[in-house]
């Protein structure tokens, strides 16, 4: 629209995400970097370049993240394309299920994979995956599978199927039509999903540490090493700067890729999915099996007590185990509570931010995009330490408040909402917005009625992620001071696994399974509330 935009409530709302990111991210991270680099300034950063070990670390970090992303996309794309063909309920269930990995701490997953490999004979002699790069990559695929399936799947469902049909009629096979016609139009969504997966893999901590073993180091583990094990804040800050620069570059590239004009959704006939019916089921079945196998191991372990199978571990969750400052059920309740709060925050802020990113003045647009995605690529140590030293004086003396934890979670949730909503918004046919305008909707009204209504689907998918991520969040939570009664489930899990004894281990498994169930149910509920207009994914 060429007519001048009027200042409305909309523009004032823009302040909300800016304030949020500014206060809880930019200010703390800036403070940590300032404090750390203080004396030596950027020399500390340049020193890093001189060290061969650090150069190796940087290269490895990039490399494993890139390969992880490529693998995840390759594995998850077929599933994303075919999930659309399932019935409504099946689809939603499968999607909720694939979100489970977000919630599981690496220690638990590593154990499950181990057992799986052992049981299937993959763990014998020379062919041990433990402490290999492959273990890291497989774990990354496991954790991030959901991102591709859901982000790309949502976009896929919104595409008009007629173009692919036109190609079919012109003689292309299903596969050729998909590759030549549908795939290019999915590029923005794939770019979006890839960015998230890359960032997650780039800053992955547990998977690298535990599955990769002590030989593998990434920027993230190095930052932890220097900040915590050596209390060398200067080195840690220098590494954090490198990390931030890398992430900035990345986000810039991915938003450029996203911005390619996608196909417009007019009165779309949903894209007919790839493959025949049994083919679809096979595809989804395989994917679910891949994800489900480790989870099945956990479930089995949670029921196996010293006296055969039973519920004793689950029952124990309600009692107060000495090792935990509060019963496991309290921790679960806290986690749910925090996750709900974090999700509401993330969706609120993310929705406003998405609208700005798509419609805002070109200056603020790019800034927002960049700034809002940064937290995904920033070390939990940096954020945690930053909050600790930055938010220490009134009026922002928030560091010991209980709600700083869900806020930290929301920092990671917002990028999810933005990255799922933005491609969706960009794919809206401009004539629909014009029609609304001509019918009397002011620019901010258009945004509400059209963008928000259509984009809500993306917001919910992003919200589902934010919920799962918050439930399983361990890093930032453990770096922020916490009252014992504010114990979260992942921390409780970790505690249970820190003392020998089958009882505690069994309880940890039970807790992990309950977390899994919670995330499946919650994500299912969150997304059902949208309804299923136009066969939405």
């Amino acid at each position: 629209m060429r007519t001048r935009e009027r200042i409305g409530v909309g523009d004032a709302l823009m302040l909300l995400p800016a304030l949020f990111i500014g206060l809880f991210f930019l200010f703390p991270v800036g403070t940590v970097l300032w404090r750390g680099l203080g004396g030596e300034g950027l020399d500390a950063v340049f020193d890093l370049a001189k060290s061969p070990r650090q150069r190796d670390v940087l290269w490895f970090t990039f490399w494993q993240a890139a390969v992880s992303t490529a693998l995840t996309v390759a594995v998850a794309l077929p599933a994303a394309a075919t999930v659309g063909g399932l019935s409504d309920r099946a689809r939603r269930f499968v999607r909720s299920l694939v979100t489970v990995p977000f919630v599981l701490p690496t220690v638990v997953v590593a154990g499950a994979f181990d057992e799986l490999f052992f049981a299937t004979g993959l763990d014998t002699g020379d062919f041990r995956l433990r402490h290999t790069v492959w273990a890291i990559l497989i774990a990354h695929v496991f954790f991030n599978y959901a991102v591709v399936v859901r982000v790309v799947g949502t976009a896929c469902a919104g595409l008009d199927g007629r173009q692919a049909e036109a190609a079919r009629v012109l003689g292309a096979t299903r596969w050729q039509a998909w590759r030549a016609v549908t795939l290019p139009r999915l590029r923005p969504a794939i770019a979006s999903a890839s960015a998230i997966v890359f960032l997650f893999s780039f800053t992955s901590f547990g998977a690298v540490l535990i599955l990769g073993g002590p030989k593998r180091a990434t920027l993230e583990t190095e930052i932890y090493r220097y900040a915590v094990s050596r209390t060398d804040l200067t080195r840690a800050a220098a590494l954090a700067v490198v990390q931030l620069v890398a992430v900035l570059a990345l986000v810039a590239v991915s938003t450029w890729l996203e911005r390619r004009r996608p196909a417009t959704t007019r009165m779309a006939r949903p894209t007919r999915t790839l493959g025949s019916r049994p083919g679809r089921w096979l595809n989804v079945g395989m994917a679910t099996a891949l994800l489900g196998a480790p989870l099945a191991v956990l479930i089995e372990r949670s029921f196996s007590t010293g006296t055969g199978y039973g519920l004793s571990h689950y029952q124990a969750l309600g009692t107060r185990v000495r090792q935990l400052p509060a019963p496991a059920t309290t921790a679960l309740w806290n986690s749910l509570h925090y996750a709900a709060l974090a999700t509401v925050l993330a969706v609120l802020i993310g929705v406003v931010a998405s609208v700005v990113v798509v419609h805002g003045r070109s200056g603020s647009r790019r800034l927002f995009d960049l700034g809002l995605t940064l937290p995904l690529g920033t070390s939990a140590v940096t954020i945690g330490f930053g909050i600790l030293i930055a938010l220490d004086e009134p009026p922002v003396d928030f560091r010991t408040r209980w709600w700083i934890i869900p806020v930290a979670h929301a920092l990671v949730g917002v990028p999810f909402v933005v990255r799922t909503m933005v491609p969706l918004l960009r794919s809206i046919d401009p004539s629909i917005r014009e029609a609304a305008a001509v019918l009397g909707a002011s620019p901010s009204r258009v945004r509400r009625e059209i963008d928000l209504m259509i984009g809500a689907r993306g917001a919910l998918v992003g919200g589902g992620f934010a919920f799962a991520v918050s439930l399983g969040e361990f890093g930032a939570t453990s770096f922020l001071p916490r009252r014992p009664e504010d114990l979260t489930a992942p921390v409780a899990l970790f505690r249970l696994l820190s003392t020998p004894g089958d009882l505690l281990r069994g309880q940890a498994m039970a807790l992990a399974v309950v977390l899994m169930v919670f995330v499946t149910v919650s994500v299912f509920v969150i997304e059902s509330s949208r309804g299923t207009a136009e066969g939405s994914l």
Binding site: A110, F118, S229, L388, G501
Partner: protein
């Protein structure tokens, strides 16, 4: 829709505004009625009844703040020393002690109960910190799984071909027990670098943390290695948390390998409730507190007069001569030792 959004935002703002009360604080004098904030790590656990006893006795309420692991806690205490988030910190161990001392984060305090503490635990003459508990990082072995069922008796035995591919150790870069074991080998062998080269030749496995060693590679977690670096308190833990219940511990401890880890508490400089803080430190050395420690945190009380739970007495031995190292020496050489270790073992 708009209404829903508005009410959500209102709820959020209200929730945020209702922060918790800081509690009155006092400078000197009677701390009754005040709150003392105790900063500690995630492994801290003490029965609620113990705190209640403290409050009943002194009128002071304890507010706990838990932060990550011991290393994180120390780093954060140092980072925030100009605006401390707590009055007392507990969980600084001897491997990190010097760091805290050098950063000058403590306010010296000589507890009136200091005399009950074992002398060899009092590492700081200036009483900037007070020993509260200690533990030993020792080699544990799964008795039934040992080759030839002969338990290793000395550190050197671990390099014996008999125990090839049986040992799993944590990296000192990322693990506190891993670091402790390294220090034990430095203190307990003539040529620690050669020792480790021999261990490598004997196919030692290295993990990043305790969990993936004990529950990953060690028999206890379904792995195939029978010797692991763990704690002297691990065998009693196995008994206490066994499922189904057992009478004897499945694991044993290699006493020659033990390295003593002492946990200290200290008053943070800049606290606005020194009286309350002092009362807390004093309380932490009483039997009420000390005897609650073993079953909660699986460490041993620093107080000589505190009794041990029967499971501890029955299933483990407190090493009489564990390896101990001066905190200043640890701090001065740690980085260099660890880097060298990485070269030898991981290079």
């Amino acid at each position: 829709m708009k209404k829903l959004l508005l009410s959500l935002v209102t709820v959020l703002l209200v929730a945020v505004a209702c922060g918790e009360d800081e509690g009155a604080s006092v400078v000197g004098g009677d701390p009754a009625g005040t709150t003392v904030t105790l900063m500690t790590h995630d492994s801290f656990a003490i029965s609620g009844s113990v705190w209640e006893a403290f409050t009943a006795e002194t009128g002071v309420t304890v507010q706990l703040l838990q932060v990550g692991d011991a290393g994180t806690m120390v780093s954060e205490a140092i980072l925030t020393k100009d605006a401390p988030i707590a009055d007392v910190v507990f969980g600084v161990d001897n491997t990190f002690l010097q760091r805290g001392l050098d950063a000058d984060i403590f306010a010296p305090y000589e507890s009136r109960n200091l005399d009950v503490v074992f002398d060899h635990l009092k590492l700081d003459d200036n009483n900037r910190v007070t020993p509260i508990s200690f533990g030993d990082v020792c080699i544990n072995y799964w008795i039934d799984a040992l080759p030839g069922t002969v338990a290793p008796a000395t550190l050197e035995d671990l390099t014996d071909a008999r125990y090839a591919s049986q040992l799993v150790v944590q990296s000192p870069e990322t693990s506190s027990p891993g670091l402790a074991f390294l220090l034990a080998t430095i203190s307990g062998t003539d040529d620690w670098e050669q020792y480790w080269a021999d261990l490598v030749a004997n196919d030692v496995s290295i993990t990043a943390g305790w969990e993936d060693a004990y529950y990953g590679e060690f028999i206890a977690g379904g792995g195939d290695r029978s010797i692991v670096v763990s704690y002297a308190s691990s065998p009693p833990a196995e008994v206490i948390f066994a499922d189904p219940p057992i009478d004897t511990a499945p694991t044993g401890v290699l006493l020659d390998s033990c390295f003593r880890q002492i946990e200290f508490a200290g008053i943070l400089a800049g606290t606005d409730n020194p009286a309350g803080a002092a009362a807390l430190i004093d309380f932490m050395l009483t039997n009420t507190f000390q005897e609650d420690v073993p079953l909660n945190m699986f460490v041993f009380p620093a107080s000589q007069s505190a009794g041990l739970p029967p499971e501890f007495v029955e299933h483990t031995t407190v090493p009489v001569e564990p390896h101990i190292m001066d905190p200043a020496e640890i701090e001065a050489n740690r980085d260099r030792w660890v880097d060298r270790w990485v070269e030898i073992v991981l290079g």
